[in-house]
């Protein structure tokens, strides 16, 4: 019960912070000299992308924890899967908001520059991870295979982040997590941007907890039903 109310609290906090981010982003912050009101998309797009990185980071750590014999437990496998699924939602939203931002600023919905291409790759890699999880019914095999797949897919994350440095891209370079760690944005705009990062991170935490609980309950339910079916069959002999 206590745990349940903690989760509800995290959910409420997520709702409030996202709400404040939206109000700040849509109405309180000033327009940009160059982009005008279009700059307001900066309060959601990079934050959503950051959560995708974070989600895949958690998936990788959990996968490592499963692969390492000392900590091997199906819990890690379920956590990895949960975080990856949430990550896919955030990656899709990164692409969607990026596209919506690109149309009026760049002039195109999509272009095959390195940042966009590697991000699309990221989405497809983790969709592949989720698809792979459905192939095998054997728990151990599934856990091992998908842990390895998760680690391979993660290689793309630093590539996505560095793509704007390594290649010529249409996409601008990092505003916050740049090489000199010197945010190129100030005042209210900077605070709202950071609030956006915080609020979507809290949303992520809530979603992963919920998704993990679902996965764990299903896992137990499968155990129980198999057990019951065996009992019933043995009973009828």
């Amino acid at each position: 019960m206590a745990r349940k109310s903690w989760i509800a609290l995290v959910g409420a906090f997520a709702l409030v912070t996202v709400g404040v981010t939206y109000i700040m982003g849509l109405w309180i912050t000033p327009p940009d000299v160059f982009q005008g009101n279009l700059v307001r998309l900066i309060y959601v797009h990079p934050a959503v992308a950051w959560v995708a990185y974070l989600a895949y980071g958690v998936t990788s750590l959990a996968s490592l924890a499963y692969l390492w014999k000392k900590t091997r437990n199906y819990k890690w496998d379920l956590l990895a899967a949960s975080s990856a699924e949430v990550g896919v939602v955030f990656t899709a939203l990164t692409l969607i908001t990026g596209s919506i931002w690109g149309r009026p600023t760049w002039g195109v919905w999509w272009t095959w520059d390195a940042r966009l291409t590697t991000t699309a790759l990221l989405l497809v890699l983790y969709l592949g991870y989720l698809a792979l999880r459905r192939v095998s019914e054997d728990r151990e095999q599934r856990a091992k295979r998908s842990a390895v797949a998760a680690l391979i897919a993660f290689i793309d994350v630093p590539i996505v982040h560095q793509s704007v440095v390594w290649w010529k891209t249409l996409h601008q370079s990092a505003t916050v997590f740049n090489a000199d760690l010197n945010p190129k944005i100030h005042g209210e705009m900077a605070w709202t941007l950071l609030l956006g990062f915080l609020s979507f991170t809290v949303v992520y935490v809530w979603m992963v907890i919920k998704r993990y609980d679902i996965a764990r309950t299903q896992f137990k339910l499968e155990d129980q039903t198999v057990e019951r079916a065996i009992k019933e069959r043995v009973g009828t002999i």
Binding site: G11, V86, V89, A92, L93, T97, P104, L221, K231
Partner: protein, 52 residues
């Protein structure tokens, strides 16, 4: 504002909102299922003991 900004904000709200609702509904249904099977099992011994 100009349509694009609103569209972006709405996309995020709809995307995250519908996933959140899906999670909430799914976990509620599952908890009902757990209660049902727990009742079904009655007095028989079970290997899971933590209450979810």
């Amino acid at each position: 504002m100009n349509g694009f900004v609103e569209a972006g904000y709405i996309a995020v709200a709809t995307g995250l909102g519908s996933y959140a609702i899906w999670l909430a509904v799914r976990s509620k249904k599952l908890n009902v299922a757990v209660v049902l099977t727990d009742n079904e099992d009655g007095g028989q011994q079970r290997n899971s003991s933590d209450g979810t």
